[in-house]
């Protein structure tokens, strides 16, 4: 961690020119360097078998399939919340796919571009069941454990001030320590994005004696980030994400996508590059979208595999369903 920070600073100090097109660099080195979290179940973590897994990881694998034709051609850099943007700015990574909230000040002030939303999240609170608290409005005077380098610190401050409540905030550098301190009773409340609360509840000594309060105090649209000023790379990222969503909408899965080449639906044929080359303008192959879906599946498959009912997280689709199912995910048309 320290090592990386030094590398990043030295990079800013010594590198003499800006960057060329990211896609050329990626093709040259033969893999995509993808910045992920240091371990957040469901989003990006190392599995028991030593392989990276999670929704943010699958996004990067899909991107590698689109650009290099092989989902395995991606290397992961685990980053703390406070290192992530500097790592992207300095060229240490090509894309940041690390449950990162899209906000105005980040998008405009940090020389980065958000390409879309992978997961619609919101900040919530977790408390002990025996505290008897059922609503965040009852948290006056509570001590709150939080992870530094995130939007959560400011959200909590805003929420408590708006509701004229007092609080104490204990700030840690890594999320594992936040969870340990909350578990030990240092804090009454643990706050982070709701997905993170569910993910980290599994790590507590007695997961069942903690509840997530119903209030969601912020909008946290989490999505991939690229460096500003490389529009082609941003386009590739944006449309890879849309391809995942569009595939679900069109009913294409990792299993049936090859067969669907002979579909009668013109939208499907366009998507798969049968009727028209949709990849050329981005510098991708004709069948880039098919490779994406073939290798990581559509958005729904990725969600179920990493976050869904069969995982320990058991998160329902909710606002992460497609727009036609009442959710917020809406891919721009691929045509």
């Amino acid at each position: 961690m320290k090592h990386l920070r030094i590398k990043v600073l030295v990079g800013l100090l010594l590198s003499s020119s800006g960057f060329g097109a990211t896609i050329d660099q990626v093709r040259k080195k033969g893999f995509i360097q993808c910045g992920v979290s240091q371990g957040l179940p469901g989003f990006s973590e190392i599995s028991g078998k030593g392989k990276w897994q999670g929704i943010d990881v699958d996004y990067c694998r899909g991107l590698a399939a689109a650009v290099l034709g092989d989902p395995a051609k991606v290397k992961f850099t685990p980053l703390s919340a406070k290192e992530r943007f500097t790592a992207l700015q300095s060229g240490e990574i090509d894309v940041l796919s690390r449950n990162t909230t899209w906000t105005l000040s980040r998008d405009t002030g940090l020389a980065v571009s958000f390409v879309g939303v992978v997961y619609y999240d919101g900040q919530g609170f977790m408390v002990r069941k025996k505290s008897g608290v059922t609503s965040a409005k009852q948290l006056d005077g509570a001590t709150i454990c939080v992870n530094t380098g995130t939007t959560t610190e400011l959200n909590v401050a805003d929420y408590f001030r708006a509701n004229k409540m007092k609080y104490k905030m204990v700030v840690f550098e890594k999320s594992d320590e936040v969870v340990a301190a909350y578990d030990a009773g240092r804090c009454d409340v643990y706050t982070t994005d709701q997905s993170g609360l569910y993910a980290n509840r599994v790590k507590l000594k007695k997961p069942d004696s903690h509840i997530v309060l119903p209030e969601v105090i912020s909008k946290e649209p989490l999505g991939p980030v690229v460096r500003q000023g490389d529009d082609q790379w941003a386009d590739i990222n944006r449309w890879t994400l849309y391809a995942l969503l569009e595939a679900e909408e069109l009913g294409l899965t990792s299993v049936n996508v090859k067969k669907m080449k002979s579909s009668a639906n013109p939208a499907v044929l366009r998507f798969l590059g049968v009727e028209k080359d949709m990849g050329k303008q981005m510098g991708l192959s004709r069948d880039w979208a098919m490779k994406v879906v073939k290798s990581v599946g559509n958005y729904g498959e990725i969600f179920e595999r990493n976050l869904g009912a069969k995982t320990t997280l058991k998160i329902s689709r909710g606002q992460n369903a497609l727009w036609r199912d009442g959710g917020l995910h809406y891919a721009m048309p691929v045509r």
Binding site: S15, G109, A142, T148, M169, V171, A181, G185, D188
Partner: protein, 380 residues
């Protein structure tokens, strides 16, 4: 014999030396200048904002432990100040504590008492061979976090409470007046003692005048004996003052860790004094305490002070590990929270590095002054 004028310029040592010096200065300036210029260029090329305007922006977050009044409306600049004071506080207390423990352990290690020297050896060897970060986790998560919750607090006479959230104790309702009273009382006490003992040579005069003036001071300062006593309200104890566990864990971790090194330095210092000095002191009729005070310690200090300075510097820099256990020092608050809220990485990291540099140079210069005083004073 050659005259200087006969030697060509490039072979004259003075000229050559000067030339090399100038070359070196130019080189150093060039490296620094290019680095700075490159950073500025790269930042503007990437559209990164720069400057120190962010210091006056409102911070918007809470800090768990602050010696200055703090609320979210205060600026990032004040957050910097609060964090800096927290770093200084834990470093200062840590240095004092490490020195005291280190001297005791170091002397115990030299003791002829088998138990004392063995315990001291175990202390030194087990503590200095375990990474500090690990020790901090042991203190914080292993020891302090195992105390009871708010409702299982240990209570001492129902005014002082100890639990996982910290040590809660009563605090004067008028703290400023109390501080003024205590400080002026200290001056009064020592001033009066010096004055009365010198001019009246009587302890009775001293005590009578002290009591009278203390009463006067009490009235003038406006201090009251009203104390704010902590009590459970809602989730936590409210009222009184609290010593947060983060500070205690970091202080204990830093002090014990550094004490092991200090102990070895002290031992080396004492061993450096020739055995003959003990014998000489004994033959002069000095007892053991006098021997230590007048003969051994002054000579040992000459060996002890320089490496001790390094340990003080290490301790100060190690205090940045407090960020792992939520102690709000400068790396956690300023190079952490403020950095991510504002994104001004270069400015903030530069300021943080500057802070450690200034603190370290200050400690080093004070210790160097003390060292040269010892050298002159110790009969050299």
């Amino acid at each position: 014999m050659h005259d200087l004028k006969d030697i060509p310029l490039w072979r004259q040592p003075r000229v050559r030396g000067l030339f090399v010096q100038i070359l070196l200065i130019v080189l150093v300036c060039w490296v620094i200048g290019t680095g700075v210029q490159n950073t500025i260029d790269n930042m503007s090329k990437r559209g990164l904002a720069s400057g120190f305007g962010f210091l006056s922006d409102p911070a918007g977050f809470d800090i768990i432990f602050s010696m200055l009044p703090w609320s979210e409306d205060h600026s990032n600049g004040r957050a910097f100040l609060v964090a800096l004071l927290n770093t200084l506080l834990v470093s200062f207390l840590g240095i004092v504590l490490a020195t005291v423990i280190g001297f005791m352990v170091g002397i115990a290690r030299l003791s002829s008492n088998w138990l004392a020297s063995t315990l001291a050896s175990i202390w030194v060897e087990s503590i200095r061979n375990v990474p500090l970060l690990l020790q901090l986790f042991i203190w914080y998560f292993g020891v302090i976090q195992n105390l009871g919750g708010t409702r299982q607090s240990m209570a001492f006479y129902d005014v002082v409470f100890l639990n996982v959230r910290g040590l809660y104790f009563p605090w004067p309702k008028l703290p400023h007046e109390m501080l003024i009273f205590l400080v002026s009382f200290a001056f009064l006490f020592f001033g009066m003692r010096y004055f009365t003992l010198r001019h009246f040579r009587s302890k009775r005069v001293f005590w009578i005048t002290l009591v009278l003036f203390t009463c006067l001071l009490w009235l003038l300062s406006g201090a009251t004996l009203a104390f704010d006593i902590p009590a459970i309200r809602g989730f936590n104890f409210q009222g009184g003052a609290v010593l947060v566990p983060e500070l205690v864990a970091l202080l204990l971790g830093l002090a014990t860790y550094t004490s092991a090194f200090v102990a070895e330095i002290v031992r080396a210092g004492f061993l450096s004094v020739n055995q003959g000095q003990f014998e000489a002191a004994a033959s002069l009729g000095l007892n053991r305490a006098q021997t230590l005070k007048f003969v051994i310690i002054p000579q040992a200090l000459r060996v002890i002070i320089p490496p001790l300075t390094s340990q003080y510097l290490n301790l100060t820099k190690n205090s940045s590990l407090g960020s792992a256990i939520a102690y709000p020092e400068i790396v956690l608050i300023f190079a952490g929270t403020v950095l991510t809220q504002t994104g001004m990485a270069v400015e903030i990291v530069a300021m943080t590095m500057g802070v450690y540099l200034v603190i370290s140079l200050l400690i080093a210069s004070v210790m160097n002054k003390y060292n040269s005083w010892i050298m002159g004073h110790g009969g050299g």
